[in-house]
């Protein structure tokens, strides 16, 4: 066993967090406010198509992908698990 240096731990982690957060804010101000796909397309030079109408979600939190596919995948997974369970 070894003795943990809590002060050193917090100082090191705190410094890293502040440094990374500072650089991140600079990057955000330089690149501007945009969605993740728009940011990626802009970074690599792909011309963005017409803006997709996105729902505002819950407090701005949105779910990616097609909701119908979630149901399809869920059903497929349940069936697969049942088959494996029965075969075992």
């Amino acid at each position: 066993m070894y003795e943990i240096d809590r002060k050193k731990s917090m100082l090191l982690f705190g410094f890293l967090v502040l440094a990374v957060a500072g650089l991140s804010l600079i990057a955000y101000h330089v690149s501007g406010h945009m969605g993740i796909e728009e940011r990626f397309n802009s970074a690599v030079g792909i011309e963005s198509g017409p803006e997709k109408e996105e729902s505002s979600g819950i407090f701005g939190f949105n779910i990616e992908g097609n909701p119908l596919y979630y149901a399809v995948i869920l059903v497929a997974l349940i069936i697969s698990c049942l088959i494996i369970h029965i075969k075992k």
Binding site: F13, S31, H33, I36, E37, G60, I63
Partner: protein
């Protein structure tokens, strides 16, 4: 977290094949290695893998309204809890499921798996490497997360620069500049993920210390 958020067709078929092949080779190595682990730690490893896959997939599908929209996928936590071999398989499954629900292209699964395996492995080895530094568990996990996600972003940039993007006129230097800014923004989320991972690992240490010792014996 780093994730190549481009549609199918952005990379040429040649590069999609190369990244897929590399990813499959790595996943096969993980599975081969898992065969040995499975003999001794069957249920625990499977439970950790199942829990991490579900948590990672669920959180990865949420678009967080920060900096205009970002994602998390808990890859460093997967690395710390499961180790690189289990983690490699988990991120491959999460990428396949994500593509299946329409989040990311099928062609990008190989490249994204490589990016995520980098995050998982770097986080795991940093977490273990910092034991000698006598840091608290929270700090070790947090620093490992920052290191993993930083290297994940670097891998993402390298993969895109090497592959090139079809149909764009920007020079590689312009793309590098754009991707560096993107990685900078991604690292803002890494800070949140680092604090979250630190708390989760500290909490697990309190309530289920055996889950952490699991990872410490895996490699």
């Amino acid at each position: 977290m780093a994730h190549i958020h481009l549609e199918d067709g952005a990379f040429s078929f040649q590069w999609i094949s190369i990244w897929w092949t590399l990813a499959i080779i790595l996943v096969c190595l993980c599975m081969y290695w898992m065969k040995n682990v499975k003999k001794s730690n069957d249920n625990k490893v499977l439970t950790i893998a199942g829990m991490c896959t579900a948590a990672s997939f669920a959180i990865f599908q949420v678009n967080i309204p920060l900096f205009g929209g970002v994602h998390m996928n808990l890859t460093p936590l997967i690395g710390i809890l499961g180790g690189p071999a289990v983690g490699g398989i988990i991120v491959f499954i999460v990428n396949i499921l994500s593509a299946a629900i329409g989040h990311g292209g099928w062609g990008m699964i190989g490249a994204n798996t490589l990016v995520n395996i980098t995050e998982v492995s770097v986080a795991y080895f940093t977490y273990r490497g910092l034991i000698k530094a006598k840091l608290s568990l929270f700090s070790r996990a947090g620093i490992a997360t920052l290191a993993g996600l930083l290297l994940g972003n670097v891998t993402m940039i390298v993969i895109i620069l090497v592959s090139g993007i079809q149909g764009v006129t920007q020079s590689r230097m312009d793309i590098l500049y754009g991707l560096s800014l993107l990685a900078g923004v991604n690292m803002g989320v890494a800070v949140i993920e680092a604090v979250l991972t630190g708390y989760v690992v500290s909490y697990i240490r309190k309530v289920r210390p055996d889950m952490l010792s699991e990872a410490e014996t895996l490699v």
